[in-house]
Every structure is written in C-alpha cells, then in structure tokens.
C-alpha cells in the first residue's frame, strides 16, 4: 500500500527528515517500508509560458522553432508538437529539470539549433497519458508561475508499505490510521477532524423526509452492519486536481468526482464503501441475503463469477447487485448522467468474505480490508466523510431522509488488565507507571490505574481481533518506546546435557559413510512428483490420496511414494554428462495411511552408474559395510516369494531377473539392492549399468546405535592355515561351497574364506578355500591338524565338491 506523506500531513505535523529517514523510522516503529518515492519535485521547476512566435525549423519539415515568454524573459526551443500556436499557454521545463521518466534536461542542439529546455506534453509531466501535443493550460494561467502552484500540486513523498507487515492491523489500511501511528512514533499531536463534535455537526444534514431506499439485512449473512444515505442533485464531473493527484499517487485511477470520493474515503478512513446510482436500485429496497442457489454473477470487471448458495449478496428486488464485501456488479455504478445517489457503507464478517474471495480468486481493495476485521463503529463516520466531500464537490447536493441502517453489530468494549511488572519483565525495561500510560495513550488507549493494575480500554478499531491480550499491549508499548533502546542481556541458563537425537546421529553416519566409503555425492530431489513419472518408472502406488488440491503443475501434483522414481529421473539427467557416477539422497517418501492420513518415510537412496561395467557388486559390498557400521541386525538375501518386499511393487518391471537382493533388518524387509532392468533403463533413455539401493530407516532410526564390541584377549599360541582347492560346476555360487565349511563343527576353526576362484573350462571352475585354525589354550599338534584337514576335505567331497587332483 502506498502512503502519501502529504496526505498524512493533513493530520499530523511531521518532523523535518529526509524521505529515506522517514521510511527507516516508520519501519522501526510500525511496519515495513519497502520503498520511498518523491513525486512532483519537477512541477516546482516547470513553469507557465506563453507562446509568442512559431516558425519552421530551417533543417526539418516537422519541427518548429518556438519562441515564448517565461517569468524570466524570452526563450526559444525546437518543438515537434502539432498543436503549437502563438498565444497558447504551455508548460515549460527549463534546462536542469528532472522529469518523471528520470531524465534531466541538458543544453542540446536539435538539427543545428540550440533548444533552451522543453515544452511538455501531459505524459512527460506524469499527469496522464496524453501525448498528442503540448499540454494546453487555461488562458488565465499566469506566465512564470510554477506548475505546482498553478495546478495546486504539492511535492509529495510516497512510502510503499509491505501489505504483509500490516496483515494484523485493520486500523492501518487508511491514511488516518497511519497518521495516528506517525503521531505516536514522532511524539506529535494528532489532529482530530472527524471527532464526535464533527459527527454531531454533520448529522444535521439528516432530515425527516421519507427515506427513498430501505434496507433489510437478513439473518445468517456475512453482514455486520449496513448503513445507507440518499443524496440528490449531485453533478458528475471530474474531481479536483488535488484529489486526483492523491488518488493517482496511491495507485488509483481518477474517474469522476463520485467514484473518486468513494475511493478517497476508503484510502483515508480505511473503510470500503459503494456509491450507487440510486435509480438502478429496483424496488427502492436493498436486501442483504444469502445467494440461496448456484448462479452466475457478472462483476464490475465484466467477469462471470460462479456463486454458491451460502455467499452473501447485496440485492434489490430484481436480484443481486454486488457480492457482499468483495465487488459490485455492472449495473449499479454511477454514470455521467447520474444525479441521485445512495451511499452504502457496510461491514462484513472477515472469515466469510475471505472464504468467498479465496474461492473466487478475487481479492479486491474491499475484500482485503474486510478480511482484517474492520470496526463497525466506523461506519457512520465514513458515511459522513463521504457526504462532506460530496457537498464540497457539489454544493447544490441535498440529503434526502435519515441515515438508514440494518443489521448493525458492534464489537463489545475491550478492557485488558495490565501490570507494570509484566511490561518490564517482558521488555526488560524499568518503565514507571506514568511512562507506560503515556505510551499507551499516544496510541489512543485509555488507561485507568486501579490498585496496582492498569485497566486499559482498547480503541474499538483495534479491538476487533488485533489486540486481545496484555502481550499485544506490551508490543505497542515496546515499539513506541523504541526497540533500539532495549539493552541485550544474556539469559540465565539451566545446565543440561544435550546430545544429538538417535535419528540425527544415524542420518549423519549414513551421509558420512556414503561420502567417505561410498565416494558419492549427495543430492536433494523433489518430494513432489507427478503421475507421469510414476508410470514411467513402472510404479503401481499412485498416492491418489496424497494429491494436492492446488498443485503448481501435473509434474509436481502429489507426494512421492518412493525415492525410486526420483532416483531414476536423476540418473537419467546425470548420465548425459558422466560415464560413471555415484549419488545418494537421504530423503523422505510418503505413504497413505488409513489411521493418520499419511506417513512420512525416511529413506536412503543410492545410485551407482557405470557405462561399461556393472557396479552391482560394488553397491552390494557397500551396503554390507553400511549395515555393519550401523550395528544393525541385518541380512542381505535373495527375494522370498512368501515375504514380498514392501519397498518395490511385486511385479515391478524395473527389477533385474538375477541381480536383486532384499535387505532385512530384524526380520523385516526394509530395503533392496538391485540392478535396474535394461528395459526400464531404456524407458529413461539411460545407456549403461544402473544399480540402485534403497534403505528405509524409519522403523529403527529412533533407536540409538549400540556398540556391540566384545573384546577377546589376543591368542598366545600360533595358529595355522589350511588351503584346499575343489572343483565345482561353473554355475555354483561360491558362497554355497563356503557354507559347507561353515557347517563343519570344530571349535578350532576360527574362520573360513574363499582364497581364489579360477575357471577350468566352460563347465568347471576351481575354488580355493582357506581355513584358519587356532587353539587359544595350546599349540595345535600335527596329528590334530591332519585330522581337521581330513574332516574339511571329507565334508567338501560329501557335498559334491571333490578335491582338485594334481
């Protein structure tokens, strides 16, 4: 919202500060000023001139040499405007003037003739859109007078206030409310032109004529009060320049005196209103009621709006004429021929206005004010201010009948108990009672001390929602006192031992492991995905219940049920640039839940990609080490039909026929390691070997990692190793061969491993097994060693793995 300091000065005398300083001070005391803009400075330099002579430019057909009279002698410029004529009064900008476009006039020759400034068109002065020719001033304009003086334009400073920073302040949506803040912030008196005395005086315009329009506010509507006043004999014409100027400065287009007054009063009093052409009110009756049906209503902006039965509409006997608190219709507005008007000033329930305006996607100057909870006490004041300005503009206008009103609901008075000690303990100040009272009174609170308690009566315009409890008062005291006067102090602190949560420790361990052991880069991918990606990834869980009502695009319309589709997408992206890469994400996926609506799942996703060789074993070994390092009771094993892995769809087409393993932690499937099927890779235009692992840590992340180290004293006696090489068929997994040795029950066998595998032929390979033998009590005897070796060989041969001969 734009605040005109010129307008503010109607109500409070501002200190002599630069516009920038003003912006900073107001930001510190009240609300965020996002920008400061100075207007009309150029109008003090531009003066009225009278054209004496026009002759063609010797070098150019379309240009003229124009001589004219100014306050300081004769000048000549080169001018291309078609409407120049001797005797015409025009606006002259001398060398050195900076015009609204931001450029400063410098001495300049145009086609060889020096120009001593510029004669201006309307748009060049920032006065309007006209660029047809020079702005023609009235014949009685005084030569040499500044345009500012001639047009009664004032230099102004506009503060651009961030609307978000006044969301909670219904009273700051008009200049008078802002002026109140300036007065408090600078400790200056506030003028009260709209006080009770003024109201009494203005009420004398009401009369006992029959009211031409009656009002009926029905129960259950959004209305909090509807006031109306009829005025006859108005003349629709342009409003005075000063008013146009203020409206333009605040971003509103001047239209005619009636519409302009309506807007002006909204910008001043903060209360929206509507001025009807009274002849359009069918049946001379206004009914505020619920719409009652599904219907289409055409608003002022000529858009069709879909209304529902519970919307509150302002109607006449023919039907709706405006949407309550939001926007009027096409028919009721004032036209050039209008002479009889009806002033409507109403208040509406914020939540209902908000609901309808949000549904329609229609936020107007009115609705954004009503949403903030306006004060019904201000309705009559607003009617009277409109009347005052209409009478200024059309002295011949007359009021017909009394003020009519229905459905008026006033918010009850609000008194808050405040103690001095609470103020000082929260702000860390040592204010005395008088200071606190003075600060509160500067914002129009009235304060009555009552036995150690301050009874603070909140002004009605702040009591609608903004101010509720003593903390609100303390905020007002603090900001007017000045936050910069608070002295920072260290808080007292209890001594408590704090450590990272188990989940955080686990997450950090995983990330560090992937970086230092996995040599991988961490990525973040989007938790929102679309149906298309899920389909591309062959995913059958579509998360239909976790689809957003207001997504930004179909590609990000729902929560992802798994990291897998995102990982595939990121693999596809990165394989364009790299022949080989490793990446991981520790992110979340989301599952539908009958009980809690949804469940956030914390998952680790890993991708290893290699254009040439499959990194499957690399990932498998990595995951083995990771699970060990997390001290998890985990197994990596082939998928089991009886216990389908919940992390991948049962018939997932991304699954490799052989290179796929389940990760089970404490007996529960919570991950997998798999090569991506080439057909799936092709879906994503991935050319190469893609291996993926996913580990869902949700079920165990909150359990601290236990150190399971069990120390054994070092062996005092030497051990011995025994190698034997057996012949097995090529297709036999080496782990099967080793498992035979693992089953040999001899306690002196400390460990068994595969030492070597060597292909013999296409059908056969040799496997060399190494056993470590150790007795912790004594040196192993040669006889014992021979008997163990014999048992090892026998068990291998019994299992069908004969010793290699020779």
């Amino acid at each position: 919202m734009k605040i005109s300091l010129d307008w503010i000065k109607d109500f409070v005398q501002l200190p002599d500060l630069t516009p920038q300083e003003m912006g900073v001070r107001f930001t510190l005391s009240t609300c965020e000023v996002e920008g400061v803009e100075e207007t009309n400075a150029h109008m003090e330099q531009v003066t009225v001139a009278e054209i004496i002579n026009v002759e063609p430019h010797p070098e150019a057909d379309k240009l003229n040499l124009v001589s004219f009279k100014t306050g300081s002698g004769e000048r000549r410029v080169v001018c291309g405007a078609p409407n120049v004529a001797p005797g015409m009064k025009v606006a002259f900008a001398p060398i050195g003037t900076t015009l609204p476009g931001g450029f400063t006039l410098v001495p300049k020759a145009i086609r060889g003739v020096m120009s001593e400034g510029m004669l201006c068109a309307e748009d060049e002065l920032g006065l309007g859109d006209g660029h047809e020719g020079l702005l023609e001033l009235p014949a009685d304009a005084i030569v040499g007078m500044s345009l500012a003086e001639h047009m009664k334009l004032k230099r102004d400073v506009l503060l651009d206030v961030d609307n978000k920073s006044i969301t909670h302040r219904p009273d700051l949506w008009g200049h008078y409310g802002m002026a109140r803040e300036f007065a408090a912030a600078f400790g200056k008196p506030l003028a009260r032109p709209f006080d009770e005395k003024w109201i009494e005086k203005m009420r004398k315009h009401y009369n006992s004529d029959a009211a031409p329009v009656s009002i009926d506010v029905q129960e259950g509507t959004a209305c909090l009060g509807f006031l109306g006043l009829s005025v006859d004999n108005v003349t629709v014409k342009p409003s005075p320049l000063w008013m146009q100027q203020r409206l333009s400065a605040c971003g509103m287009r001047p239209i005619n005196n009636i519409v302009d007054i309506s807007n002006y009063v909204m910008l001043e009093q903060g209360m929206p209103n509507h001025l009807f052409d009274r002849d359009t009110i069918r049946g001379n009756k206004i009914i505020v009621r619920e719409n009652g049906e599904q219907s289409i209503f055409v608003t002022l902006d000529e858009m069709e709006r879909k209304m529902i039965p519970s919307d509150t509409m302002v109607c006449d006997l023919d039907g709706p004429s405006s949407i309550g608190g939001i926007m009027g219709g096409l028919t009721s507005s004032v036209k050039a021929s209008t002479t009889r008007i009806f002033i409507e000033v109403a208040n509406w329930k914020p939540e209902l206005v908000r609901r309808t305006s949000t549904r329609l996607g229609l936020r107007t100057d009115a609705s954004q004010r009503y949403e903030k909870s306006l004060d019904s006490h201000q309705l009559e004041r607003t009617v009277l201010r409109i009347l005052e300005l209409i009478l200024d503009s059309c002295p011949e206008a007359v009021v017909v009948g009394p003020l009519v009103s229905d459905g008026l609901r006033l918010n009850p008075p609000l008194v808050i108990d405040l103690t001095l000690s609470r103020v000082n303990s929260i702000l860390g100040t040592s204010l005395n009672e008088d200071e606190v009272i003075r600060l509160l009174e500067s914002l129009e609170y009235s304060v009555t001390p009552a036995g150690g308690i301050l009874k603070v009566t909140v002004p009605t315009y702040r009591a609608t929602k903004d101010v509720e409890v003593d903390a609100d008062l303390i905020e007002d005291i603090g900001r007017i006192y000045g936050y910069d006067r608070l002295v920072p102090v260290a808080p007292h602190n209890e001594i408590t031992a704090i450590s990272l949560s188990a989940a955080k420790i686990l997450e950090r361990k995983i990330q560090d492991f992937l970086v230092y052991r996995g040599r991988a880069l961490e990525i973040y991918s989007y938790p929102l995905i679309g149906a298309k990606l899920l389909e591309q990834a062959g995913w059958d869980v579509m998360n239909e219940n976790l689809v957003l009502a207001n997504s930004l695009s179909p590609e990000t319309d729902r929560m992802r049920p798994s990291l897998v589709p995102s990982l595939l997408e990121k693999a596809a992206l990165n394989q364009k640039y790299h022949n080989k890469f490793r990446l991981f994400e520790l992110g979340r996926s989301y599952l539908e839940s009958e009980k809690d609506f949804s469940e956030d799942r914390h998952q680790l996703g890993i991708i290893y990609f290699d254009k040439q060789d499959s990194p499957f074993m690399e990932v498998l070994n990595l995951m083995g080490d990771l699970l060990d390092s997390l001290r998890l009771n985990a197994q990596i094993q082939p998928p089991n039909q009886k216990f389908p892995n919940p992390l991948i769809p049962a018939l997932w087409t991304g699954k490799h026929p052989h290179e796929i393993l389940d990760i089970r932690v404490m007996g529960k499937s919570c991950g997998f390691i798999g090569s991506i099927h080439p057909v799936m890779a092709k879906n994503f235009k991935i050319k190469g070997n893609l291996v993926m692992a996913v580990l869902d840590i949700t079920d165990f992340m909150d359990r601290p990692i236990k150190d399971q180290t069990k120390y054994k004293p070092l062996a005092k006696f030497p051990g011995s190793t025994f190698d034997c090489t057996v012949v097995v068929e090529t297709g036999v997994p080496v782990a099967d061969v080793l498992s035979v040795l693992k089953k040999v029950k001899i306690k002196e066998i400390e460990d068994v491993r595969i030492a070597d595998v060597y292909p013999l032929s296409e059908q056969q390979k040799t496997v060399t097994l190494r056993s470590w033998l150790l007795d912790r009590e004594k040196t192993l005897s040669p006889e014992f060693l021979r008997s163990v070796e014999a048992q090892i060989v026998a068990s291998l041969e019994n299992a069908g793995y004969p010793l290699k001969q020779g």
């Binding site: 510190l28 005391s29 609300c31 965020e32 920073s165 969301t167 909670h168 914020p350 939540e351 908000r354 303990s425 929260i426 409890v469 903390a471 609100d472 303390i474 905020e475 603090g478 900001r479 936050y483 910069d484 608070l486 920072p488 102090v489 260290a490 808080p491 704090i498 450590s499 990272l500 949560s501 955080k504 950090r508 992937l514 970086v515 230092y516 040599r519 880069l521 961490e522 973040y524 991918s525 989007y526 938790p527 689809v547 957003l548 207001n550 930004l552 990000t556 992206l573 990165n574 790299h578 022949n579 080989k580 890469f581 990446l583 994400e585 979340r588 989301y590 609506f597 949804s598 956030d600």
Partner: protein, 347 residues
C-alpha cells in the same frame, strides 16, 4: 715380510671397489681372506721371523685383516643396494598418474550444501544447549495453523500460500513452526530446541522462489525470559554463524504465534551499514523473524503462560547457503544435478 703384507693390502685396496656382484665378491674374499688366500699364505711365513718381528708383523697382519673384512662388508652392502636400486629403476612407477588425472567418471564425493549449512547450524545450537527436533512434512491443520494462533479466518493464512491435500484438512507444512507444537507436546519447561527442515509454499518457481525450501525454527521457554535476552541470544547466534561480531536491530514484525513479534535485521556484512546493492542501500539485511511466544500458543502446548514464557525464532537455511556460496538460482538446490553438487565436494 712386512713389505709383502703392504703389497697384498695395496692389491686388495685397488681391487675391492671393482668387484661388481655378490658371486665375484665371494671369490674375491676367498682370494684374500680364505684358507688358501693371500693373507693366510703370508701368515704361514711367520715362523721364520724373530720374536720381535713376529710381534710387529702379527699386529699389522691382524689390522690388515680387519680392514679387509670391513671393506668387503661395505662393498657387499653397496653391491646389494645397487642391485635393488637397479631393480627399482627397472619397475619405475609413474607417480604422476593419479586418480585426479584419470577419466574415472564422476569421482567427487561430498554432502549437499544445505546438509553442510544445516549441520553447522545444528552444531551451533547443540553447543548452546538446544535439542534438535523434527516433525512430519505432511501436517494437519491444527499443528500448522490453529495451534500456532492462526485460526481459519485469519488472513495470515494467506501470507503462506499453502499446499492443501484434497481432503482440505491436511497440508504440506508451510513453516517449521509445527515443530514448536510437537516440541511443547513432548517436553516440560524449561526447554530449548530447534527444528530444521523442509517446508512448502505454493509459489511459482523462479531463480529466487522455490515451492520447497528449508527453515530452522527455534524456541526457548523458561522463567522470566525477556526481549533483551532474545536479542542477546540471536546476536550471539548470528555472530557464530558469520564468524564475526554482528550488529542487530529489531523492528515490528507480524507472526501470529508470537507477541510481541519482530523482524531482526543485521548490519550488512558487505558494506558495514553504509548501504550497498546487497542491502538495497539501507545498510541492514533481513535476518530472521522472532518474538515472544504468544500466550495462546503456550496454552495450546499445555504450558501455563502465567508461569512460563519464552521466545521463538525462525530463519531460512536456503538463503544462508545461497549467500555463503553466492548460488545464483535456488532451483539448483533440488535439481539433483551432480554438476551442482560436485562444487561442494568434501574431496
């Protein structure tokens, strides 16, 4: 005799250095020191000498023998070393051929910049005695709005363009402030905790706007906590984050869950308050939102606002990371593009 001994010695001295291999050395050693060697042959002639001559010859002969033995040992070691060095020279490794210059594909490893900044923040808070909490991304209306003093009709709901699910009761959390409520439900005062995490706003994406970004919300509840405590704490925090003394200022700011509510600005680090393009010429940079916890929020969390009070604050993690690394486009953060991630590599 003695002269002959010196001649043998001379012959030895000129020969030992020329021996080039261990077998040659064995031969050479036998020639001089062996049973049938030249030294022994001379010793055999000792019996023809007088007692006096025997004495002086014997002494010298032992000396010579010792010198020869030492010289042979020394030369043998040299031969061995030469042999090893020759072998090493033959199998010379190209030590310039490091992984760094091989084409091994993408080799960098490291944490995402947001993980790095978040960890740093967590560690600072941990050092100041704050617990680190978290909460769900998918929230109900109560935890995201109502419990935070933002009822349905409150226009503040518009300040945060909310992603709603179709049931219109659940949503993606618009701030990490939901962690405040979950923290209060878990803990008894006094307490202090922070909650870093991902939040969502229905905003059209561009270089500086993201629909998914990261915040850190914090809360400290205790007895007699005042605004100056909060200022002191936040100033310390920012000084710790930026690793230098920071000047701060408070101004009014509106967040429904705090009252009084503030925006805390810090003096621009680039221009020191004089005004520059980073601080839009005002000398101050918007730092974080903060305030004294609203009594309604405390009551909602089961805490008696007459006994306890405290402050809460929130800051944007993405913006911190972007400022630190001069990241030009916020959309890179969720891009999953390794060309982005690798710039923040650990090694």
């Amino acid at each position: 005799m003695l002269q002959k001994l010196e001649e043998v010695k001379k012959e030895f001295d000129s020969g030992v250095g020329l021996v080039g291999s261990m077998p040659d050395m064995a031969q050479f050693k036998a020639d001089f020191l062996g049973k049938k060697g030249k030294l022994n042959a001379l010793m055999g002639g000792m019996r023809d000498l007088s007692v006096e001559e025997k004495k002086s010859f014997g002494a010298r002969a032992n000396e010579v023998k010792q010198e020869m033995t030492d010289a042979i040992d020394k030369r043998s070691q040299d031969i061995e070393l030469e042999a090893i060095n020759a072998k090493l020279a033959k199998n010379k490794l190209d030590i310039s051929w490091t992984d760094k210059i091989k084409d091994l594909g993408q080799q960098a490893a490291g944490l995402h910049p947001l993980t790095q900044v978040t960890r740093e923040l967590e560690d600072i808070f941990l050092s100041m005695g704050f617990d680190i909490l978290d909460g769900p991304h998918i929230e109900d209306e109560y935890h995201n709005f109502e419990a935070l003093n933002i009822p349905e009709s409150h226009p503040a709901r518009d300040m945060q363009d909310t992603f709603w699910f179709k049931d219109k009761k659940h949503l993606l959390r618009t701030h990490t402030s939901n962690i405040q409520i979950r923290g209060m439900e878990q803990k008894k005062p006094p307490f202090k905790f922070v909650g870093p995490g991902k939040v969502f706003r229905c905003e059209t994406l561009d270089a500086s706007h993201e629909a998914a970004f990261h915040q850190l919300e914090g809360m400290m509840v205790g007895k007699d906590i005042a605004v100056p405590h909060m200022i002191h704490f936040l100033r310390t925090l920012l000084s710790e984050i930026f690793k230098r003394e920071i000047k701060v200022r408070l101004r009014p700011g509106f967040f429904p869950f705090v009252e009084p509510g503030f925006e805390l600005d810090y003096e621009c680090l680039l221009c020191g308050g004089k005004g520059c393009s980073v601080c839009k010429q005002v000398g101050w940079v918007e730092g974080l939102g903060c305030g004294m916890v609203h009594p309604n929020v405390l009551s909602g969390g089961g805490i008696d606002p007459n006994k306890w009070n405290g402050f809460a604050f929130g800051l944007g993690i993405d913006r911190l990371a972007m400022m630190r690394y001069h990241i030009d486009d916020v959309r890179h953060l969720h891009s999953g593009n390794l060309q982005f991630s690798e710039q923040f590599k650990t090694y």
